[in-house]
Symmetry: C2
Subunit: 617 residues, 2 copies
């Protein structure tokens, strides 16, 4: 199969790769609209009216049988894709001027130069192999169009853990190729970003990476000048420092404001952003240490620095205080930095959520985040990518819905998750109405099903260490990662209230009170915030232990129901076979989670299932 045959499902209405000679978003917009009208056998007139003052915005107006699309330099392309999607789905294009809620809508690829992808579940890297660039230009254009079609405007192509030789991306010998790649993405309004190694100066003759040492600041200024000579519109640098064994300012007794600002000042002359990840915690914790509570770490490190960051610094903060678990409360740090630019980081790669084997549609999860996170608090969104060299880019064909929905959510976080999922389904598969309803419903519920058969009530981390697929109730219990549940014969969970670790105090009074109080703390987070006895009686009258059993039995049954629905759908090949193959694995996984988790708690509690279902002893 030729690479050009690959495409994400939602762009099946645009089967041809856009010609390589398109050099501006306007060129692309025109080509895509012409192709779409031809393929869909529409003959309506569409007039394109570029208006550079609109930048990323656009406006679609009905005129007679056709449309007038007014748009900025990239806005006109976004408008074109929106119009095509509307025509394809039979919907009505949005009225009035459409502008993105967040200026930066970023995809973070965790690709290593050797060709692997950290937490990648859909094949090897699209960009690298064997320690060098190795990509198919046709596939790169396909990727750029996917991103543009949903409004993603930045792609960071290399892992935040910058393993040798990926640091060379900003060295003289790799920059020409980086520039070539930038040129492929440019017509789609997508700018490149690179992850840098904070300690890079140490590789180049300096004996320090101290952010307050003028030689270090000068080194980065000179380096930024070099990089921007090759890629004048580079979006900036992404940095993971002092985190999970990465070097950083702490090495020199400096704050992360010192480190971030120093780098930001090197980028400022070129309009670049310095994106600084806040995933900082003690990853060598002693399990005997009950004073340290990992979810409190990011807030402790950063909240005190609010207001100290330069204007072109963006702190990138994961949605929850742990690490992309199926259920976490919103990170208190996101609510604590009123005078700092922040990007909300979510993870499309299904690291803890099924490895793109199990079906797990994320839009409902993101909506929940925004229930607690005022949308104006943040200025950007970033997503860890779920793409690889697999023919369909995402392994499971349905995993594409998450990239699709991420882009449109970062454009407008008020978009309804169900509507996003329905649009993706309709664009991807021309299913009869009842089947489309069934697929939408299956995807909408998929996160809840996964949560039920895996993690009880916000407990997290009962997952196979390292791999993070499959159950391991004690896998992290005596480890160095600060992720414990301390289940014993009577109770389970960590008391994170004021009388416990005090984590709840990192929230404002409203949220703090809500989580502190067992009556208002949502069931699905009860074991995140509280240590509860197995005989604790939930609001609905069930004991905690019975609820754990019920959830696991029900989650498994619901996964089986999903499998039955899936069989009824007339999906095109190869998606039908691929989805069926993965569903068989998902069912195996669900049963393993059910039995292991139930047995684990049964052995501890000695309490049998009230409904007499089989729990192995």
């Amino acid at each position: 199969m030729k690479h050009s045959d690959h495409s994400l499902t939602w762009l099946t209405c645009l089967p041809e790769a856009v010609p390589a000679q398109a050099v501006t978003p306007l060129d692309v917009a025109r080509a895509e609209i012409n192709q779409a009208l031809a393929v869909m056998q529409h003959s309506i007139p569409v007039v394109l009216r570029p208006d550079s003052t609109l930048s990323e915005s656009f406006c679609l107006e009905r005129e007679g049988e056709g449309y007038i699309l007014t748009g900025g330099s990239t806005g006109i392309l976004y408008g074109a894709y929106r119009l095509i999607m509307s025509l394809k789905t039979g919907g009505t294009p949005p009225s009035g001027v459409q502008q993105p809620r967040y200026a930066l809508r970023m995809l973070n690829c965790w690709d290593n130069a050797e060709g692997t992808i950290e937490r990648g579940y859909s094949g090897r890297s699209l960009f690298f192999e064997d320690g060098r660039f190795d990509y198919d230009p046709v596939r790169m254009r396909q990727l750029a169009r996917m991103l543009a079609s949903v409004g993603v405007n930045v792609i960071c192509i290399n892992n935040v853990n910058v393993h040798d030789p990926a640091h060379k991306l900003i060295e003289e010998d790799w920059l020409p190729q980086l520039s070539d790649l930038a040129a492929i993405f440019r017509p789609y309004g997508v700018r490149l970003m690179v992850s840098i190694d904070y300690a890079h100066p140490l590789r180049c003759g300096l004996d320090t990476a101290d952010p307050l040492d003028p030689r270090v600041a000068d080194w980065w200024k000179t380096r930024a000048q070099l990089v921007y000579r090759y890629i004048p519109d580079l979006a900036g640098f992404l940095v993971k420092a002092d985190s999970e064994h990465r070097p950083g300012p702490f090495t020199y007794g400096r704050t992360h404001a010192d480190g971030a600002n120093m780098l930001a000042r090197a980028l400022a002359p070129f309009g670049g952003a310095l994106v600084w990840r806040c995933f900082v915690y003690n990853c060598l914790q002693d399990w005997r240490d009950t004073k340290t509570d990992r979810p409190m770490a990011a807030y402790k490190h950063y909240a005190c620095l609010d207001g100290q960051f330069d204007r072109n610094v963006i702190l990138q903060i994961k949605n929850g205080p742990f690490d992309f678990q199926v259920r976490e409360p919103v990170s208190p740090l996101l609510l604590a930095m009123a005078h700092t630019n922040m990007a909300l980081e979510v993870q499309l790669a299904q690291e803890y959520t099924g490895h793109q084997i199990d079906i797990y549609a994320m839009p409902p999860m993101w909506k929940e985040i925004f229930d607690d996170l005022p949308k104006e608090r943040i200025t950007a969104m970033a997503a860890v990518g779920n793409l690889g060299r697999d023919m369909n880019y995402t392994g499971h064909p349905f995993a594409a819905v998450n990239l699709f929905a991420f882009g449109l959510t970062a454009w407008n976080p008020d978009t309804d998750p169900a509507a996003l999922i329905r649009t993706w389904c309709r664009l991807s598969y021309a299913l009869p109405a009842a089947q489309e309803d069934a697929l939408v419903s299956l995807l909408l519920g998929s996160r809840g099903v996964y949560e039920k058969y895996t993690a009880p009530l916000g407990l997290c981390w009962m997952v196979e260490p390292h791999g993070h697929y499959g159950p391991s109730p004690m896998g992290y219990e005596y480890a160095l990662w600060g992720t414990y549940h301390k289940a014993n014969r009577d109770a389970v969970g960590i008391d994170r209230t004021a009388s416990g670790t005090g984590y709840t105090r990192q929230y404002d009074k409203t949220l703090c009170d809500k989580y502190e109080n067992l009556n208002t703390c949502p069931d699905n987070l009860k074991l995140f915030f509280h240590r509860l006895r197995y005989d604790y009686v939930m609001a609905d009258g069930r004991t905690l232990i019975q609820r754990i059993y019920d959830d696991h039995f029900e989650g498994c049954e619901e996964a089986e129901a999903m499998a039955r629905v899936l069989e009824t759908l007339d999906l095109p090949e190869p998606d039908r076979s691929e989805a069926a193959r993965r569903m068989a694995l998902q069912l195996k996984n669900a049963r393993e989670w059910r039995d292991v988790t139930n047995t684990f708690f049964y052995r501890l509690s000695g309490v049998s299932d009230a409904k007499g279902r089989r729990i192995y002893d």
Copy 2:
């Protein structure tokens, strides 16, 4: 440091590598004696009297101030080393004709062609690197002399898991180099053996490896002819088949007698042995399956085949029914094959016994094996090696005691463990008498200490999966390996009596009764054979749970006492520093095992330590 500077401690009295021009064991014997007498400044006359009828045997007779050493072709070399050791240690040489109890005394190296060693804890392979032979001839001669000095006469140089390209060892392009290597070992009376890939014919154009297919038998006959053309004294082939994903006769519905005999017949014309490992079990067990009991597997597979193996087949059977745990009963298969040649397999590599970081001297363990295994039952001994490219070959300098003692135990299994250890200590370190006593005592007790702080009462498998160093009480509990303890809030252990899995019935009545009866089953195997409640009262009046706590606290204290003893010893450098560095790691390991295991059982049982020591909750 030059390679020739490396040597195992017990040969420090023979600092010079033997000249490469020595071509017979007699040459080597003469050179070694001359060197030893010179180094030790002895001037006694030693007369060598070769007598080929003695083969591997020798006789040392006092004559005046000197000795007459009569010995067979290799016996004379063994006698020379024995005399040197006696002179060095101030002991008396054994009187009368000395002949080895077992004809084959084999070292199995699990070295991969790529240069790694499976379960190797002392550096990379001495033989291979980057998928090819890569050895230092001087070090090879040192290795050969080490083996000869303790009577080891066979070395299998490649991993029983034959990973590509190690199968090439018996292919035309690698055989000349294999022949070169054999020539290095030959003057020391050490013959090579190779691990073969049972499915090798499939790599060479055959469409089957069915042992009853004449084409397969012919292929192996032709192959054996080729191999023996290059190495006429090859000891034979070592085979791991139908085990842990290795192919074997089961693939074709044949028995292991079919497979082994077919191969043995190819080797028979050349006097080669076919060593067939019996490590066969279901490594994809469902943890829910309580019918299958892994320790029963080898007996079930092989006992029914007793008497069906050719005379040059040797079944190689691990000492215990599991896999080299710190404490196992003797394998019932070793007691069940009266009409079959068997080799007892032990493991010098400290896979489950401390990775050559923790001190663990094995001779007392082997003595226990022979308490239940009549010595005449077996015809050979094999040891998985503990050697690598580290300067001292074994990582921890004290780990050398295990190779030393293995050779002499395979020569004479009646040798007293304490005497072996003392001899090694005196040969290795010229310590003052009190210090020597202290070191002997430390080594003699080391296994008991390790057992106490790690595995409770024969329970096994509470170790970190994959790596097998450090505690993980639930690491294997829901895995595919058939290694479960099923600890719950009330009890722990598997009932392997007649009323349980019936494993005890694989023993004769005496042993069966001993293990079945809680009053006669030794404490250190109680949880191997029985499922016991935490409040079960042991013979000494302690409850099971208290005994678990006591052992772990005491084991840790005893390790600390070992550390204090170690500090008092005037060991030469670098051994002193290296032993001290590793002891710090051992103490860390011991504390981790103590705390994790105690906390694990405390959380389950809810029972506090009767002595009020700290158990984390």
